[in-house]
């Protein structure tokens, strides 16, 4: 089911990317990317592996710096912020990593407490426990609270990773390949969770994926990254209504034509 996007405020971009290029040595990954994410929107970025999709969200969160171009997040120019201001901005951005990036040496509870304890130092023990249990409940994994990450399945790790980002109540969610390496049933659950997060926490999200089923079920708008640029943009049907040899194989493979 393709989302309708009725709740989106198209007058307010929460992220604006203008003319961004990024290279690693001789490898030119992004070549002048322009993009807006609007308030309340789920934007899916599609593209082949190695085309710079993950680089784009790392640039948005300030983990990498663009060679040229500008990135504005919630009205602030990311590359002009000092460390302290960048840290403050990051509290409003949730980043769900491809491999979940849970802290191996901590239990699920400690993983979730970590950002909370560090950024909201005046919270009482009871309030921290309540927050942790709330977000774990929201992702349906309250029973794993005392388990170690190594004891969880891939899908559970993804959910806990998402829960850890939600605990700071971010305004923007960045999902890096949320369904990569998961079985189809778990993929459907994760897609459902992304939509639930958007509705419950009123987030605006960028979802990086090459899974078209995921793109179709969570995306309000889809952009396609081809050779370092966004070359196609629109709804799912608009994106794939083409004979472009770089785009069609995506559709044919995912829907087994």
């Amino acid at each position: 089911m393709l989302k309708t996007g009725g709740h989106i405020d198209y007058s307010t971009p929460v992220i604006s990317v203008r003319g961004v290029s990024k290279s690693f040595g001789d490898l030119h990954v992004l070549r002048g990317v322009d993009m807006d994410l609007f308030k309340g929107e789920n934007l899916v970025v599609l593209g082949r592996s190695g085309t710079g999709k993950s680089v784009l969200i790392k640039l948005i969160s300030g983990l990498l710096e663009p060679d040229i171009g500008s990135i504005e997040v919630l009205g602030e120019q990311v590359d002009e912020l000092d460390d302290k201001a960048l840290r403050q901005l990051r509290l409003k951005i949730g980043f769900s990593f491809q491999n979940s990036a849970l802290y191996d040496s901590m239990t699920v509870r400690e993983n979730l407490e970590f950002p909370l304890v560090r950024n909201k130092r005046n919270l009482s023990r009871a309030a921290i426990n309540r927050e942790v249990e709330d977000v774990l409940d929201a992702v349906g994994l309250l029973h794993t609270i005392n388990q170690m990450p190594s004891e969880l399945s891939g899908g559970q790790r993804k959910r806990i990773g998402i829960a850890r980002t939600l605990i700071l109540r971010p305004e923007i969610m960045l999902y890096d390949e949320p369904t990569a390496g998961l079985d189809p049933i778990t993929c459907i659950e994760i897609n459902g969770l992304i939509n639930e997060v958007q509705e419950k926490y009123k987030t605006s999200s960028i979802i990086i994926t090459h899974d078209l089923a995921c793109a179709k079920s969570v995306g309000d708008r889809i952009v396609m990254l081809l050779e370092g640029r966004f070359e196609r943009e629109g709804s799912f049907d608009e994106i794939f209504d083409t004979d472009d040899g770089r785009v069609k194989p995506f559709y044919d493979y995912n829907f087994i034509k």
Binding site: L63, R90, F97, N99, D104, F114, N119
Partner: protein
């Protein structure tokens, strides 16, 4: 690119210079961040436990064996001159001035340095460090500053412990062969040791501790290329810290000799 810069040797030199500049930046960042709040006291204490307490069994065994073996090896030479009564003084000077901090540092390089390198390396390649960064935490402060402080605090304490265990091991050997009592042995031990010897132990241990921590963290924090990179980070953490410990030993001995003169 100029032709000269394309020569393999020049590329190696260039890479080495870049690495040195990175190390310099890393060390300077440590000194900048160590004094800035928030202070990760809980994590520093936890790391002191990992570095110090968990190294005790290995340090105890190594310190004890060092004391016994050094005494047994020194005895024949002194016996030739009928000077075995000098054994306690000789042992105390050797252990406190040189062996205790050096043995502790070498054991810690292997155990703690590799552990730090592998732990941070694995966190780096699995994006756990990035995850900390994007959740509003300063990973350098939490991971690097706490570990370097822990090794800088723990290695001196462990060095004193190694000295105590080594001297006790040496006492057992002296007591068995020379029939020297506990009191006489330790009277001679403390008579031979000066404040400068103790200062030398502390100075070396602090420098060695800092080196082991910073090298392990640097290697781990900059590891790449997946699991192979983690292995390399752990390996280099040990090799580099051991190498630097020996260089520092030579330099500090020169400084202490100059102070003694």
């Amino acid at each position: 690119m100029p032709l000269l810069a394309q020569l393999p040797m020049m590329k190696k030199i260039q890479r080495t210079l870049i690495e040195l500049a990175n190390i310099h930046r890393f060390v300077m960042r440590f000194f900048r961040e160590v004094f800035m709040p928030p202070y990760e006291i809980k994590e520093i204490i936890r790391q002191c436990y990992v570095v110090g307490w968990k190294s005790l069994p290995l340090i105890s065994l190594t310190g004890f064996i060092t004391g016994v073996v050094f005494t047994n090896q020194s005895r024949p030479s002194l016996a030739e001159f009928g000077a075995t009564s000098w054994l306690p003084a000789l042992i105390s000077i050797a252990i406190i001035r040189a062996l205790a901090p050096l043995v502790t540092a070498l054991i810690a390089s292997g155990k703690v340095g590799s552990q730090i390198g592998a732990e941070l390396g694995s966190m780096k390649v699995t994006e756990q460090i990035d995850a900390m960064e994007v959740s509003g935490t300063n990973p350098f402060k939490f991971l690097v500053v706490s570990r370097v402080l822990a090794t800088t605090i723990s290695i001196p304490i462990l060095s004193f412990y190694t000295a105590a265990v080594g001297l006790f091991g040496a006492f057992l050997s002296v007591n068995q062969h020379e029939d020297t009592s506990f009191r006489v042995y330790f009277d001679q031990v403390f008579e031979a040791v000066t404040y400068l010897d103790v200062f030398s132990l502390v100075l070396k241990a602090v420098v060695f501790g800092f080196t082991i921590g910073i090298v392990g963290c640097y290697q781990g924090y900059h590891s790449s290329k997946g699991t192979e990179g983690v292995g390399r980070a752990a390996n280099w953490a040990v090799v580099m810290s051991m190498f630097l410990v020996f260089i520092e030993e030579i330099l500090i001995v020169q400084i202490i000799q100059a102070m003694r003169a």
